[in-house]
């Protein structure tokens, strides 16, 4: 079984589907947990309090497929920078279910043009929405999202595409049918998968349904904004009570969608600003980015040296996104402890485990470019901040050029990184609608104030790229970076680009 999955090249879409089926053989049990019909369970969540689960939901939650989410940090490796950010994907999943219920109740209470039906499908979509996350959440997504094999996902977010693939698998569908049959509920996994990836149905008139799961103020966002800010200690505020009070379903631009009354615009603005604040302060914190690069370096080293990871009879070579589903966070660290065959790999993993982080050698931002010399144009370099494999390869090529020029002693190529985070976007602001009067026509939020551009401008101002390397070779790498950028792109860096990293200004 395992051998068929270790392909020489990159797996095709069909092979990825086959790999998903293979993965689910291990993670979906042949028998359902014996919950009686009508059973409910109460779980206490540290953030939201009581979360009630129904018997059919428990049948999913208690499978290894969902329990593995306990072992995956919600914010990836950010806990190495924000020590209390140890909350898991499972906690977040339960929080999203809670917020779906609150959103559902708020909409149901209000006078609407459309009925939502029962809450069950939305709750199940919330439960299933992150099942496609693998080791270290978005840190691994950034790696497998750039694999050639991930191109089959198109423009879908890779972890959401994996969730959809899991839901559409034969084994998941068979299990869901058994649960539905016993507990007398309807489980339309195809529709739930579509909501999760945010794809439009053929008839999109009822867009509000998917917007509850994947929309401008969906329940996923409402949970992660609160949860990630709470557990990192960042004080952010969104007036949820006001949001619940003002949410409605109205027709706008041909679709029935979630809108808010004008008096509810403030929480929408708070959501946009909070998202940007979390992005800049937590997800793009330079040490968090250094951790992500270190994880990337481990996988790159394994690729280059043909090292596979053995787990349950499988030999994972990390050429397929599915390989990342097999691992939870501690599995990687255990590899560092139990396979000392390759000392360098052992060191790379231990550096992450014991928080011996890469350091900044250079900061790249608009403020760091010398406007009096050269083209004063970070543009061609910033192009590599684009998402996708092509940009990722360019960044690696450039980092390798810096490495080759610096010739740093006791340093692997996998320890020198050019990191250019994706530019902040507030596209959601263009799809967020406000109802000026109870009976009026909804208009985009941006008609009231530049909802997208203000936080976006803030994000642009705060955006920074970096070159990371081990502490002992920072001076050499800084000098090499300065030379490579000057020769290739006519970019002349200011002294601050080095001084703020506590690096000697190269001559």
């Amino acid at each position: 079984m395992a051998d068929t999955l270790v392909a020489d090249g990159d797996p095709t879409h069909d092979q990825i589907r086959e790999q998903i089926e293979c993965f689910l053989k291990e993670y979906i049990p042949p028998d359902m947990p014996p919950y009686e019909v009508g059973t409910t369970k109460v779980i206490h969540d540290g953030l939201w309090g009581t979360v009630l689960l129904h018997s059919w939901e428990l049948c999913f939650l208690d499978t290894p497929l969902f329990q593995r989410l306990r072992q995956i940090h919600q914010t990836g490796l950010a806990y190495l920078v924000y020590p209390s950010a140890t909350h898991s994907r499972l906690e977040h999943t339960l929080g999203v279910m809670h917020n779906v219920q609150r959103l559902f109740e708020a909409i149901t209470k209000a006078k609407n043009q459309k009925s939502l039906g029962r809450p069950d499908p939305y709750r199940l979509a919330a439960l299933f929405h992150d099942v496609g996350h693998g080791i270290f959440s978005h840190a691994s997504e950034q790696v497998y999202g750039n694999l050639t094999s991930a191109s089959v996902f198109g423009t879908k977010r890779p972890h959401e595409a994996l969730s959809e693939l899991i839901l559409s698998s034969n084994q998941f569908q068979a299990y869901a049918a058994k649960v539905a049959d016993k507990h007398k509920v309807r489980i339309d996994v195809e529709t739930l998968g579509r909501w999760i990836v945010g794809s439009a149905a053929k008839d999109e008139s009822e867009r509000f349904m998917r917007e509850i799961i994947n929309g401008p103020f969906d329940s996923d966002k409402l949970d992660y904004l609160f949860r990630d800010s709470h557990f990192t200690g960042l004080r952010l505020s969104v007036d949820l009570d006001r949001l619940w009070y003002t949410v409605r379903i109205r027709k706008a631009k041909g679709h029935f969608r979630l809108v808010v009354l004008q008096s509810g615009a403030t929480p929408l603005e708070q959501i946009l600003f909070s998202k940007m604040m979390l992005l800049i302060t937590v997800y793009h914190h330079h040490k968090v980015r250094a951790c992500d690069c270190m994880f990337d370096g481990i996988i790159e080293y394994m690729h280059e040296h043909n090292i596979s990871y053995e787990i349950r009879g499988m030999h994972l070579n990390f050429r397929s996104p599915v390989d990342f589903l097999w691992l939870t966070d501690n599995d990687l660290y255990s590899l560092g402890f139990r396979t000392p065959k390759d000392e360098k790999l052992h060191d790379l993993i231990h550096n992450l485990y014991f928080r011996r982080l890469l350091k900044r050698a250079v900061i790249l931002s608009r403020r760091m470019v010398n406007e009096d010399e050269g083209d004063n144009d970070l543009g061609p370099l910033l192009e590599f901040a684009s998402p996708g494999q092509r940009s990722a390869l360019k960044r690696r090529q450039l980092a390798r050029e810096i490495y080759d020029k610096a010739k740093p002693p006791d340093c692997l190529p996998q320890e020198v990184w050019l990191d250019l985070p994706e530019m902040p976007s507030t596209k959601a602001a263009d799809e967020t609608y406000v109802l000026p009067t109870q009976h009026g026509v909804p208009v985009p939020l941006k008609h009231f104030f530049p909802a997208g551009k203000w936080p976006e401008q803030y994000g642009i101002t705060r955006w920074r790229g970096h070159v990371f390397c081990p502490e002992h070779c920072r001076d050499k790498v800084a000098k090499a970076t300065m030379e490579v950028l000057r020769e290739k792109y006519s970019i002349h860096l200011k002294k601050d680009a080095f001084l703020e990293c506590k690096v000697k200004v190269p001559r």
Partner: protein
């Protein structure tokens, strides 16, 4: 036809360098900008230039993360400026013209420059700014 010595970033710059001959500003509305590029990218004639742009279709309008990155990069590099308080127009700064036109000549063949001119005309028309709505 395509000399291939350029990137999509060069194509966008070349389009904007042509646009500046006709207008000093373009709309900064995301749906307008991305919609205009999407319409061009759909055409066989322009595909070789715009092939690397992918467009998400999940929302109300096509959205390319690559194009978004390029616009932000141009803002960061000081070539485009989106002005307070309305943020409804991108002003193409004069220094961009000479700088970009120089680059256009360096990277593109005459035939390619002619294609870019056609794309730029279409882009300028589709992204002509409207008055602030606020």
């Amino acid at each position: 036809m395509a000399s291939g010595n350029w990137t999509t970033f060069d194509v966008v710059r070349a389009i904007l360098a042509h646009v500046i001959d006709k207008a000093q500003a373009i709309s900064a509305e995301t749906p307008v900008l991305h919609g205009a590029l999407y319409d061009l990218a759909k055409e066989d004639k322009f595909k070789p230039y715009l092939n690397d742009f992918t467009f998400e279709q999940r929302g109300d309008f096509p959205f390319s993360r690559e194009f978004h990155t390029q616009l932000v990069a141009l803002e960061m590099a000081g070539h485009l400026s989106c002005q307070n308080p309305d943020f409804v127009q991108y002003h193409i700064l004069p220094k961009m013209k000479t700088h970009f036109q120089k680059r256009t000549k360096r990277f593109f063949t005459d035939e390619e420059i002619a294609d870019i001119g056609v794309m730029a005309d279409r882009f300028a028309l589709a992204t002509a700014p409207v008055a602030a709505t606020a």
